[in-house]
Symmetry: C2
Subunit: 432 residues, 2 copies
């Protein structure tokens, strides 16, 4: 039995070779994995059926069972996803900067993998496939811990993937499955071996991870998103966008939780907005002025910092644009916030001053998503300001290093003034 | 008396306006600051003289006194530095990506300030000037704590800078001086208000900061840099570069601490190398084979992870390139490591597989520096892989946000298939 630490040490070793693996090797392995999932779809679905049977005995909730299900159509879709990852450009080895420091002394900033990425995710076997393949594509070794309900499926899927990639030039140890909660505890302490953690799941879970590790964490806990209807908002547009932001899919992080309404537009907007929300069975709580205007239930102070993830919204009337901005910066979670207005100056001020990863003018907060942004793959959505912000594609799994290619230059010659730096843009890719 | 938390709250508020300040406002304030330093140079030097007198009474060491000294020539040089920061391009408001998601739905990734930056630095008044001005240029509010020995100077310098910037469109609260060790303790706990910490000073100090805060830290603790002479190294080049890497300035993070020597080149290289090191009075400790070959003192296991910051070096003979790479990845601090070789394949393998921010071929590790890299200004050198790596210029003080400009689009229309994403590169700057 391999211990968690042994897996991590193996992953670290694998990461060093994987960093040097050319695109063709990584993509060939990805296609072999896709083929293995396709040809073994029935066997994998059987392993999943056993997990589903156990879930039925244990009386797990319907949403959990829905996510857990990994039948043949879902497996084939996952295989298709792997093939599409293989077609994405290689995020590794891109030259971001090239400067001649002096004749024959050339500096290049080149992207490279982070190293070892730890991912802890919910009971969704398709997540295992996607995350492992995003790590492989970006040259990172992956330590993966899925939800306990999916353990049987994950074991079968991981074995099929490891088997398919073997002998393709991908180093052993490129992926390992962690199996227990104790393994996760160990993972959190391995800041000497693990470069990034990507936790997926409930807010409480993500916050727990963030609070219990020194390893950098990519992700977000809360998603408290606002839509602000400015005094110059078009009423029809505002109703349409607000209803979409709240109801198109309520249980996701980029759904709106609070509507802010400028007092001048409130009389025209609130009646049709509340009618539209009622038609979608959305519960509305409001500030005292909203209560007075609409007869909705009163909001408590806690409502403004609550992510409902449900058919419920809080509404507040504000006197000015700046009051709306201040509300968002105080109660928001730096995820996604939108202004609806015909006033370009007001939009510019909101977009500039709201401190969030995604700031929108006249459209729904639900667009905050890597696929909708055209990134091809999404690692997660980050509300951190450090490293990667907003929806994060493959580039969130790479960093860069500086390569300096010389001919025996010493700093003494420049310190003495004998030689001078040229700092000329080379405009070319790193030759090695 | 303003408390640390009050200063931080004021800085947070200032940061929101500073984020929207145009380049012309920030640069005008910088030039006013430079002018104030120039015209008040004598008064500031007098404040410094009082700190120096106190230092003499307290018997502070010569290097500390040297750093503390802020006489008229140093003040004028600092003012020149501020003027040169004003000439750098604005790191804020740069469009990094522009994509049409659909007709009339345009996505832009635009750089913006981090917000509030806390900097804790040694007793160098010139550092106060430089850091405050880099923060101002990048639109960040700054909370600054300098060494206690420089308190009188820092108060005078900070007052002059705040006074010069007042009424120039820069919000009050853009900079605040923290004065006590207790203030630093409070700063470490303010992860709700502070976006980045930049600690400067001794390794122990930086490590303490990293271990006692949830705020992201930009910087590095150790700088254990290696120079590896490969079997195909040119002996003259190797002696020249190794001596430079070790002795050009011993007390800095990018100085070499360990030399690795391929066994095939050792007989030719070690005698002239050790003679050159002896001429510079460098103490040499070595692995058993180096001891046998040269008669130097033996290295202990601890030597391989020691940053001497002094005229001392450890030397190890290795059998293969991969053994050298493994040594660097085991004992190095991911800062700067060099290979000396005429073999291009060996160089490529070393540069690919050594996990460090700066990897060099045939030149001295001492080049790892923001000014030498042509960045114009240096915030610090990062050994983290997250956010910014290697020497970090102004771009380490900014992040980005996504601005999505629409005309009332909802996600429902795309989920239903009624509309499709175009994901077309716009190749233009964000219009607001």
């Amino acid at each position: 039995m391999t211990t968690t630490r042994e897996s991590a040490v193996a992953a670290r070793a694998a990461a060093l070779s994987l960093a040097a693996a050319p695109r063709v090797v990584k993509d060939a392995a990805l296609l072999r994995i896709a083929d293995a999932l396709t040809t073994q779809a029935h066997a994998l679905a059987e392993a999943n059926a056993a997990d589903l049977a156990k879930a039925a005995v244990e009386g797990l909730s319907e949403p959990v069972v829905k996510r857990l299900k990994f039948d043949v159509p879902k497996i084939l879709a996952a295989a298709e996803g792997v093939r599409s990852i293989a077609t994405l450009p290689d995020p590794v080895g891109r030259t971001l900067l090239s400067t001649e420091l002096d004749e024959g002394l050339d500096l290049y900033r080149v992207t490279c993998p982070l190293g070892v990425v730890g991912v802890v995710f919910e009971s969704r076997p398709d997540a295992l496939v996607q995350i492992a393949c995003l790590c492989l594509k970006s040259g990172n070794a992956a330590l993966l811990k899925g939800g306990a309900e999916a353990l049987g499926t994950n074991r079968a899927v991981a074995a099929a993937m490891l088997d398919a990639a073997r002998g393709q030039g991908v180093p052993n140890g490129w992926m390992a499955l962690l199996e227990t909660r104790a393994d996760v505890g160990e993972l959190l302490g391995m800041d000497d071996l693990v470069d990034l953690l990507v936790p997926r799941g409930s807010n409480e879970f993500v916050r727990y991870i963030m609070d219990h590790t020194r390893i950098p964490v990519l992700g977000h806990a809360d998603g408290i998103c606002h839509v602000y209807a400015d005094r110059a908002a078009d009423v029809d547009l505002a109703v349409r966008v607000m209803v979409d932001a709240k109801t198109q899919y309520v249980s996701v992080c980029n759904a709106a939780e609070t509507f802010l309404v400028h007092r001048d537009v409130a009389p025209a907007l609130l009646p049709p907005l509340l009618a539209a929300l009622e038609a979608k069975r959305v519960e509305v709580v409001g500030c005292p002025r909203t209560v007075e205007a609409t007869g909705c239930a009163p909001a408590t102070e806690a409502d403004w910092s609550t992510e409902y993830l449900d058919y419920k919204v809080s509404v507040r009337i504000v006197d000015t644009l700046d009051e709306a901005i201040a509300h968002v910066n105080r109660y928001g979670s730096k995820h996604t916030d939108a202004i609806l207005t015909g006033d370009r100056e007001a939009a510019a001020r909101f977009l500039e001053r709201v401190d969030a990863g995604n700031v929108y003018w006249n459209c729904s907060t639900r667009f905050a998503d890597g696929f909708r942004y055209g990134f091809g793959a999404e690692v997660g959505v980050s509300t951190s300001k450090i490293h990667a912000r907003g929806p994060v594609g493959l580039e969130g799994l790479v960093t860069y290093k500086y390569k300096l290619l010389g001919h025996g230059q010493t700093v003494a010659d420049y310190a003495s003034g004998e030689r001078k730096f040229t700092h000329r843009d080379l405009g070319r890719d790193c030759p090695l």
